[in-house]
């Protein structure tokens, strides 16, 4: 979309911020997770090849944020009042829930000893405790970077008169970065959590029906059943 907008000489500012947010999120999780996670001892010099890929979205975001279009002249927001439409209420409730959920999952990912956190980790969302550390970092980013913005957006939804035009323009830019980060983060998180998560005891998985999985031979099972019946 960025390429099309550039070729078509259209504004690619918000699309670029969306892209920068998604890449910043993935590179933060990826680079940190490589060092923190279970593969931290196998880091190779090729790891440094990621630096340009991580620096590019930062430069693009700074470039785009420094080139904000001129503000419309009649946008003095002092007269703005919150119109409590259905969509606004839903978004406000979503933001409250997302902040609470983000902080709770952050506490779970950080290894809270609370019984509810342990239950969440063992029975509800075991992927948060994955050895790769990627889900833990993603939860931390949601809580530490996503929640402050969500709080800001909630304040904007509840009391828009507190925001002058320039501040709300910043909020739209941050919303684009935030949307890109969450889209990328959720796509990767859900894809990773939804993969076949059965932990077989050996790396050699058994193909059905070949040999079965640690099944004893059929004749021995019959003998065992006969022995049990006899006893």
């Amino acid at each position: 979309m960025c390429s099309y907008a550039i070729v078509a000489k259209r504004s690619y500012r918000l699309v670029g911020l969306f892209w920068a947010g998604s890449i910043l999120n993935t590179m933060t999780v990826f680079l940190s997770g490589n060092v923190i996670g279970s593969w931290g001892t196998t880091i190779k010099p090729s790891y440094l090849l990621n630096i340009p890929y991580a620096a590019a979205p930062i430069w693009v975001a700074c470039y785009l944020l420094s080139r904000r279009p001129a503000a419309p002249p009649s946008s003095s927001s002092n007269s703005k009042k919150p119109s409590w439409g259905f969509f606004r209420v839903v978004l406000a409730l979503y933001l409250v829930g997302a902040m609470a959920l983000g902080w709770w999952r952050f506490c779970v990912a950080m290894g809270s000893p609370l019984p509810a956190a342990q239950r969440w980790l063992s029975e509800i969302e075991p992927y948060l405790g994955d050895e790769s550390a990627y889900p833990r970092l993603q939860a931390a980013i949601y809580a530490l970077y996503g929640s402050p913005f969500q709080l800001l957006a909630l304040v904007y939804l509840v009391a828009p008169h507190l925001f002058v035009h320039e501040a709300s323009a910043w909020l739209v830019d941050l919303a684009a970065i935030h949307a890109g980060a969450y889209a990328q983060g959720q796509f990767v998180f859900v894809s990773a959590a939804a993969r076949p998560f059965v932990l077989f005891p050996t790396t050699a998985t058994q193909v059905i029906p070949a040999q079965g999985a640690r099944l004893p031979p059929r004749h021995s099972r019959r003998a065992g059943q006969a022995g049990q019946a006899g006893s």
């Binding site: 979503y94 997302a98 509800i124 919303a175 099944l215």
Partner: protein, 83 residues
């Protein structure tokens, strides 16, 4: 041979490991994955779609007045041209 139908979450790894160690063949079913983990999709779907809707709301709230200004400006220029 017993087969286990496991959902996508809820200690799937623990149950799967236990089932295999007990000598069973573990069979997973994609349809049950989705149906059994409805909360999973609701929670993560909201986390994925919420920011997009929020961005759309903020964008429209911010640029709505700009659109009105643009349209009034264009109508003014049209009127000037007509005059």
């Amino acid at each position: 041979m017993r087969a286990f139908l496991l959902d996508i979450h809820g200690g799937q790894g623990r149950q799967g490991r236990q089932a295999v160690e007990e000598g069973n063949v573990v069979v997973t079913c994609g349809l049950l994955h989705i149906a059994g983990a409805l909360w999973f999709w609701i929670m993560h779907g909201a986390l994925a779609l919420g920011p997009q809707l929020l961005f759309a709301k903020l964008y429209l709230a911010h640029h709505g007045s700009a659109g009105a200004v643009t349209s009034s400006t264009s109508s003014t220029s049209k009127r000037n041209k007509a005059e």
